[in-house]
C-alpha cells in the first residue's frame, strides 16, 4: 500500500544569554563539572527562581521571526518527574500559557514552497548531565547545564517526508543563528531535535499511531532516522501489524531506531502553574521594541539580494547562509559597485580559502573594503583578472592591501600600446609557421600567440589590449 508520512518536530534551542534563566550563574559550555552552579540551580531547599528578562526577549524574537502571535500574558508551569540530572524533581517550563503560538516557517523543496505551522514556542530550563563511570557502577551528576535557558519550538504535524523535516529544521536553525539568540551547535547540544512520526494510507485524513524519535544530533541523522522509521512503520503496516506508540532512540552506528519506553511507561508530568513565579505580562510596547530591532531574516535577505543585486537564487542562497557572510558580501558589493563580480569573488576564492582552513567569514583576513579595492583595480585595468587571482591569495595570506601587493611584486599591468606592439611583433616574427596557420583560417592558434605574449610579459600584459592588437597585427602584414 502507498503511505503518507506525517511528521512533527520538537526543537530545543539553548539561548545565548550570559546567565541562566533563574539565577546568575554563567551559561558557558565546557567548564569543570558543577563549577557554574549556585544554591538556586542546585535546587537547594528554600531557594526561589527569578526570571532572566533577556530570555523572554530572545524568545519573543524567535516568535516574531516565525510569524507567531506573542501572547499578552504567559506563565511558567512545573513539569514533575524524577531524574538525577533534575535537582528540583521538576523542570520549570511553560504549559497552558506559552509565550508564542500559531506561527509558521516557509520551506522550499525543488522550487516548491510550503509553510510549516508552528504550534507554540515556550521557554524552559535545561537539565544537567549524567556522567557514567565506564569501569565502576557509579554515575556522576554535572549540573552546569541546569538552568541554562531553552526555547522549545513545537511544529504542527505538517511535514510529509524526511526531506521536508530536514529542510524545516535547517530553516529554523538558520533563523535562530541569524537572530544571534542560539549558537546552533548540534554537537554540544545547543540545538536538539525530537520527531513525532506516523504513517497513514494515501488519501486518509486521520492520523496513524505515532512514535517519538530521540537522540538525533545532526541534520543528517534526523533525515536518516526519519527515513528508517518510515520504512520500519511501512513494513509493520504492510504486514497487517500495528505500530506501537512509544519513544524510540536513534542508534547512529547501527542506523536503526530502538524502543526506549512504551506509552504505559510514559511519565505523567503533573503539570501545574509554578507558584514561585508570577505570570509575565508582555505589553505591545515590548513586542514592538523587539520587532524594531529584529535583523533582516534569511528569506527576506535572499529575495532582496536577488532583486537589488541581480544575482541568481542559488547565489543568493549561498551568500545568505549566515548573517556575517551576507553582511560581508553586501559591503563588498556596495563598495565596489559591482555586485555580480563581488558575488563571484566571495563565493569563489574567499569561501574556498576559508573552507580549506575551516574558518568563519568573521575570521577572514581580507576586509570587505580590500576586496572591493581589488575589484576596482581589475575594473580600471591596473591588473588583469588572472593577476588578481594571485593578488587575492597574497591578500589572504598576508592581510595586506591589494595595491601594496601589486607594488611589491611589480605586478602592474602593461597597457602601453607601443610596448605591447613591440612584444607582439617579436612573437610573430619568431613563429612564422603558426602565423601561416592562422592566416589560412586556423584561428585556434590565436591562443598560442596570447600565451607566448603573456609568457614574455610574465602575465602582466593587458589581455584586452593584446587581443585587439594581436588581431590587427596578425591580419595586417
Amino acid at each position: 500500500m502507498k503511505y503518507e508520512a506525517v511528521i512533527g518536530l520538537e526543537v530545543h534551542a539553548q539561548l545565548l544569554t550570559d546567565t541562566k534563566i533563574f539565577c546568575n550563574c554563567s551559561t558557558k559550555f565546557g567548564a569543570a563539572p558543577n563549577s557554574h552552579t549556585c544554591p538556586i540551580c542546585l535546587g537547594m531547599p528554600g531557594v526561589l527562581p527569578v526570571l532572566n528578562k533577556k530570555v523572554v526577549e530572545y524568545a519573543i524574537k524567535m516568535g516574531l521571526a516565525t510569524h507567531c502571535r506573542i501572547n499578552a500574558q504567559c506563565s511558567f508551569a512545573r513539569k514533575n518527574y524524577f531524574y538525577p540530572d533534575l535537582p528540583k524533581g521538576y523542570q520549570i517550563s511553560q504549559y497552558a500559557e506559552p509565550l508564542a503560538e500559531f506561527g509558521h516557517v516557509d520551506i522550499e523543496i525543488n522550487g516548491e514552497k510550503k509553510a510549516i505551522g508552528i504550534t507554540r514556542i515556550h521557554m524552559e530550563e535545561d537539565a544537567g548531565k549524567l556522567l557514567h563511570d565506564e569501569h565502576n557502577p557509579v554515575s556522576y551528576v554535572d549540573l552546569n547545564r541546569t538552568g541554562v535557558p531553552l526555547i522549545e519550538i513545537v511544529s504542527e504535524p505538517d511535514m510529509r517526508s524526511a526531506e521536508e523535516a530536514a529542510a524545516y529544521l535547517k530553516r529554523l536553525h538558520e533563523i535562530l543563528v541569524y537572530l544571534e539568540i542560539c549558537d546552533g551547535n548540534m554537537e554540544e547540544g545547543s540545538f536538539r531535535c525530537d520527531a513525532n512520526i506516523s504513517l497513514r494510507p494515501w488519501g486518509e485524513t486521520a492520523f496513524g499511531i505515532r512514535t517519538e524519535l530521540k537522540n538525533m544530533n545532526s541534520f543528517r541523522n534526523v533525515q536518516r532516522a526519519l527515513e528508517y522509521e518510515i520504512k520500519r512503520q511501512q513494513y509493520i503496516l504492510d504486514d497487517g501489524g500495528e505500530v506501537v506508540q512509544e519513544t524510540r532512540l536513534w542508534e547512529d552506528g547501527q542506523g536503526v531506531t530502538h524502543s526506549m519506553r512504551s506509552k504505559e511507561e510514559a511519565h505523567d508530568y503533573r503539570y501545574f502553574p509554578d507558584p514561585d513565579l508570577v505570570p509575565i505580562d508582555i505589553g505591545r510596547d515590548w513586542v514592538d521594541e523587539v520587532e524594531k530591532n529584529l535583523p533582516e531574516l534569511p528569506l527576506a535577505k535572499r529575495e532582496r539580494f536577488m532583486g537589488e543585486y541581480q544575482i541568481s537564487a542559488y547565489d543568493a542562497g549561498v551568500l545568505t547562509v549566515s548573517r556575517a557572510l551576507a553582511d560581508y558580501f553586501e559591503e563588498v558589493a556596495k563598495r565596489s559597485g559591482k555586485p555580480k563580480i563581488a558575488a563571484n569573488w566571495v563565493m569563489g576564492d574567499i569561501l574556498k580559502f576559508l573552507n580549506e582552513e575551516k574558518k568563519d567569514i568573521k575570521d577572514c583576513p581580507i576586509t570587505p573594503s580590500a576586496l572591493a579595492d581589488l575589484i576596482g583595480l581589475i575594473d580600471k585595468g591596473t591588473i588583469s583578472g588572472k593577476m588578481a587571482k594571485d593578488v587575492v591569495e597574497q591578500m589572504y595570506q598576508t592581510g595586506k592591501a591589494p595595491t601594496a601587493i601589486i607594488e611589491e611584486k611589480g605586478m602592474v599591468q602593461i597597457t602601453d600600446e607601443s610596448t605591447l606592439s613591440k612584444i607582439i611583433s617579436e612573437v610573430i616574427e619568431a613563429n612564422p609557421e603558426q602565423v601561416a596557420q592562422y592566416r589560412s583560417g586556423k584561428e585556434k592558434v590565436f591562443g598560442f600567440f596570447v600565451g607566448q605574449i603573456m609568457k614574455a610579459t610574465q602575465g602582466k600584459a593587458n589581455p584586452k589590449i593584446i587581443n585587439d592588437l594581436l588581431k590587427k597585427m596578425l591580419t595586417k602584414s
Binding site: 528554600g46 526561589l48 514533575n80 501545574f272 513565579l277
Partner: protein, 485 residues
C-alpha cells in the same frame, strides 16, 4: 523578673540605659533553657556558642553606640529557615544532616538588625501538622500543660516564647502554623500578607500559601520584628514592592469609628463554649473602644478546608520532590538501582503525614484528575478571596476565634488526620486569600489553657492589625499569668 522574661522593647531600654548587657540576657536565657527544655523540647538545635559570641559582639557595639533595632536581642528561628553553616532539618529525617550553604533573607535581615540567634525550633515535619507531633525529633509540649500539644506546625517557636526560652521567635504559617500555636500557647503571632516578607530561604511546604511571621510576647514586639523583616526582596518573584510603614506608629492609635466584622461561619458548631465566651468578651472590649461590630458572612468558608487540602498537598508533592537522596540529606544505605534508591530514601526519610500529603497532592495533579481537583480548587480559592474582598469593603477588620478549642492532649488526634485538620479551620482562609492575620491572647479556659483571638485585615493592612491588637491588649484587662514549670 528575670531578663529572659522581658519583652524586646523592655530589653532595648535596659540595654540602652546600661542596666543590662546582652551577655546577661543570653546567660539568663540559656539557664532557663537548661531548666525547662528537657520537659518542653522547643528546640531541635541550640546555637549556644553563636549566641554567646553574638552577645559579646552586641555589647561591644552598644558601647560604641552602634545600636540597631534588635541589637542584643536573642531570637529563636523555626528550623525551616536556611541558616548558613547551621543544620536545618525542617523536622525531618530526610534533612536530619543538612547544612545549608546560604542564609534565608529573613535571617540576613534579622542579623543586620543586630539579633542574636538562640537556636532552631521544633516543628511538624515540613510544617505539615497542627500539633508539632510529626517532628522526626519528637513532640514539643505545651508549657501550660505538658500533657498537651502546643499547636503547630511552629510549635517550638511558640513554646520558646511562651516559656521564656527566647525573647521572640520566627515561625511560618501555611494554614495557621503561626496563629494556632500562638493561641494555644498564649503569645502573639502574626501571619503577614502573602508577599510582604521574603520567602527566600524558607524551606517550601506550599509555595502559594507559606508566609513568615513573628511570635512575640506582646504586640509592640510584633511591630518591632515586622519592621525588621517586612519588605520587597528581589530574590523572590512573589515578593511585593510595596512601601513598609513603621508599624510602631500604629500602636498608640485608637480604633474609634472602626467597623469590625464578625463572621457567623466562624462561630461554628463544635466550637468550645469557653473559647466562644472569651471571644464574645473581646468583642465587648473593642466595642468599648468605640468600634462598631456587625455580623458578616463569608459564605465560602465551608469550602476552605477542602480547597486547602488540595492546593497545599499538590504544591507540597512537587516542592518535596527534590528530597531524592541524590544531592543532600538522607540516602538509603542499600539500594539495587536508581528507582530503588528513590523509593527507599523517600520511604524511610519522610514520616507518615508527609507521605500522606505527597500522595494526596500527586493524585490531585494527576492527568485526568487535575481539572476536577487542582483546577477546581484554584477556582474556589479565587471565590474565597472574593468573600473577604466583599467584607473588607465595609469592614476595617474581621474578628474571630483563632482556634475552635484550647490545646488538646498529645496523641489525641494523631490517629485521625481529619480531626487534626479541623483544628486549623479558622486560620486556613487567611492563607487562601493571602490576607494578614494576628492572634493575640484573650484569656484562659477554666483549666488554665490560653485562648486566642484572631484579627484579619485586607492585603497589606498589617498596620491596622497592630492598631486593633494593641488597643485590645491595653484595654482587655487580662489576668497576667505565666506557665508554671
Amino acid at each position: 523578673m528575670e531578663l529572659n522574661q522581658l519583652t524586646i522593647h523592655e530589653l532595648q531600654n535596659r540595654l540602652r540605659a546600661g542596666e543590662a548587657t546582652a551577655l546577661e540576657i543570653v546567660q539568663a536565657l540559656f539557664k532557663r533553657i537548661e531548666t525547662v527544655e528537657s520537659r518542653l523540647k522547643a528546640y531541635i538545635s541550640l546555637m549556644k556558642e553563636d549566641a554567646f559570641e553574638g552577645a559579646i559582639r552586641a555589647d561591644e557595639a552598644i558601647k560604641k553606640g552602634d545600636i540597631n533595632p534588635l541589637t542584643g536581642i536573642p531570637i529563636a528561628l523555626k528550623d525551616i529557615y536556611c541558616t548558613k553553616g547551621v543544620r536545618t532539618t525542617c523536622g525531618s529525617r530526610i534533612l536530619h544532616n543538612y547544612i545549608p550553604p546560604y542564609n534565608a533573607t529573613v535571617v540576613e535581615k534579622l542579623q543586620q538588625a543586630g539579633a542574636i540567634f538562640t537556636g532552631k525550633t521544633n516543628m511538624d515535619e515540613f510544617a505539615m501538622g497542627s500539633s508539632t507531633e510529626t517532628s522526626f525529633f519528637g513532640a514539643t509540649r505545651n508549657p501550660w500543660d505538658p500533657e498537651r500539644i502546643p499547636g503547630g506546625s511552629s510549635g517550638g517557636s511558640a513554646v520558646a516564647v511562651a516559656a521564656d526560652e527566647c525573647i521572640a521567635a520566627l515561625g511560618s504559617d501555611t494554614g495557621g502554623s503561626i496563629r494556632q500555636p500562638a493561641a494555644l500557647c498564649g503569645v502573639v503571632g502574626m501571619k503577614p500578607t502573602y508577599g510582604r516578607v521574603s520567602r527566600f530561604g524558607l524551606i517550601a511546604f506550599a509555595s502559594s500559601l507559606d508566609q513568615i511571621g513573628p511570635f512575640t510576647k506582646d504586640v509592640e514586639d510584633c511591630a518591632i520584628i515586622m519592621n525588621c523583616i517586612a519588605g520587597y526582596d528581589p530574590k523572590e518573584s512573589t515578593s511585593v514592592p510595596a512601601d513598609v510603614p513603621d508599624y510602631r506608629d500604629f500602636l498608640s492609635r485608637d480604633i474609634k469609628g472602626w467597623t469590625i466584622g464578625v463572621p457567623k461561619e466562624y462561630f461554628i458548631e463544635g466550637i468550645d463554649p469557653e473559647v466562644e465566651q472569651a471571644v464574645r468578651q473581646a468583642i465587648k472590649v473593642v466595642e468599648g473602644l468605640g468600634a462598631k461590630t456587625r455580623d458578616v458572612s463569608l459564605p465560602r468558608t465551608k469550602y476552605c478546608l477542602a480547597v486547602y487540602y488540595i492546593v497545599a498537598p499538590a504544591e507540597a508533592s512537587s516542592n518535596l520532590a527534590r528530597y531524592d537522596g541524590i544531592k543532600y540529606g538522607y540516602r538509603t544505605p542499600d539500594s539495587l538501582d536508581l528507582l530503588d534508591m528513590y523509593k527507599k530514601s523517600r520511604s524511610d526519610g519522610f514520616g507518615a503525614e508527609v507521605k500522606r500529603r505527597i500522595m494526596l497532592g500527586t493524585y490531585a495533579l494527576s492527568s485526568g484528575y487535575y481539572d476536577a481537583y487542582y483546577k477546581k480548587a484554584s477556582q474556589v480559592r479565587a471565590l474565597i478571596k472574593q468573600d473577604f474582598d466583599e467584607v473588607f469593603r465595609t469592614c476595617d477588620i474581621i474578628l474571630t476565634p483563632t482556634t475552635p478549642t484550647p490545646a488538646f492532649k498529645l496523641g489525641e488526634k494523631t490517629d485521625d488526620p481529619l480531626q487534626m485538620y479541623l483544628s486549623d479551620i479558622l486560620t486556613i482562609s487567611a492563607n487562601l486569600a493571602g490576607i494578614p492575620g494576628i492572634s493575640v491572647p484573650c484569656g484562659f479556659s477554666g483549666s488554665g489553657l490560653p485562648i486566642g483571638l484572631q484579627f484579619l485585615a485586607s492585603h497589606f493592612e498589617e498596620g491596622k492589625l497592630m492598631q486593633i491588637a494593641s488597643a485590645y491588649e491595653k484595654n482587655a484587662n487580662l489576668e497576667k499569668r505565666r506557665p508554671h514549670l
